[in-house]
């Protein structure tokens, strides 16, 4: 087997670890960091497929990075706004919109 196969397994594993992190942690910032890890594992998959299906896939890596940067900026601003209100970043305690 060649490096592509192992890299695809690695990217699936990193995505699963990111999923587990989002499900297991209560700290909103660490949940965000896990989402960044999931985005980067998708980048890894895109780069692997760019080797065989055309280099255009690497352009999409840049789009993913731009979306990740925008998401991090807005998400962290929301976390700062919530922290000003509640003085904590524990997602279990933000239950005002829960039914």
């Amino acid at each position: 087997m060649e490096i592509e196969t192992y890299t695809l397994i690695l990217s699936a594993l990193l995505f699963a670890i990111g999923t587990a992190g989002v499900l297991l942690r209560r700290n909103a910032i660490i949940m965000f960091m896990c989402i960044e890890l999931m985005l980067n594992s998708v980048n890894l998959t895109l780069v692997v497929f760019s080797r065989s299906l055309g280099i255009e896939a690497q352009v999409f890596v840049f789009f993913v990075m731009a979306v990740a940067a925008a998401e991090a900026a807005v998400g962290l601003a929301i976390i700062i706004a919530i922290f000003r209100h509640y003085e904590l970043v524990d997602v279990d305690r933000f239950n005002l919109l829960k039914w």
Partner: protein
């Protein structure tokens, strides 16, 4: 041979860093483990002949986005936590089962994609020739500024909206 050694090294670093990020008690330690995982991923990008992606991954992801996280953690003074914010044992079991199921699903799907892509693939010789003739930046820039010029320009609009949104959201309300 040496590429195999570095692949195993970077893969172990990435998986170890990601796992340690999920289970570290201190958010600052969590963040630094994630930086380690992203450095290892950049190494893997180099092994896959995506040199420019590797450099941008280091500069933009590890250098800019994760430092933004670091700023927020320090701004909110979250670096000192006595008790872990991991969820309870029942929730933890359910979460790990869901993540494991997701891993299996992804493996099945990626195996199908891998089989089709290997059938009509370019091969290492083509990639080497393209890197030789256009350079590591050129092979990415050429499709980006020809076929994907409009999406590229829309990305700048997205970033502008994100900047304005972040400032509006994080602004202190006028008394």
């Amino acid at each position: 041979m040496i590429a195999d050694f570095f692949f195993v090294l970077f893969a172990v670093m990435a998986i170890g860093g990601a796992t340690a990020m999920v289970f570290a008690r201190n958010p600052l330690a969590s963040l630094l483990y994630l930086v380690m995982a992203f450095f290892a991923l950049s190494g893997i990008f180099v092994l896959l002949d995506a040199h420019f992606i590797a450099a941008v991954n280091l500069i933009v992801y590890a250098g800019a986005i994760l430092v933004l996280f670091l700023f927020v953690i320090m701004l909110l003074n979250l670096g000192r936590t006595e008790k872990s914010d991991l969820r309870g044992p029942l929730y933890r079991m359910i979460g790990i089962v869901i993540a494991g199921a997701f891993f299996g699903l992804l493996l099945v799907m990626l195996r199908g994609g891998h089989a089709t892509s290997m059938a009509g693939g370019m091969g290492q010789a083509t990639i080497d020739a393209m890197l030789e003739s256009q350079g590591a930046v050129g092979i990415v820039a050429e499709p980006m500024f020809r076929s994907y010029l409009v999406p590229f320009e829309i990305t700048s609009l997205l970033l502008l909206v994100a900047i304005v949104g972040a400032i509006v959201l994080a602004r202190r309300k006028a008394p």
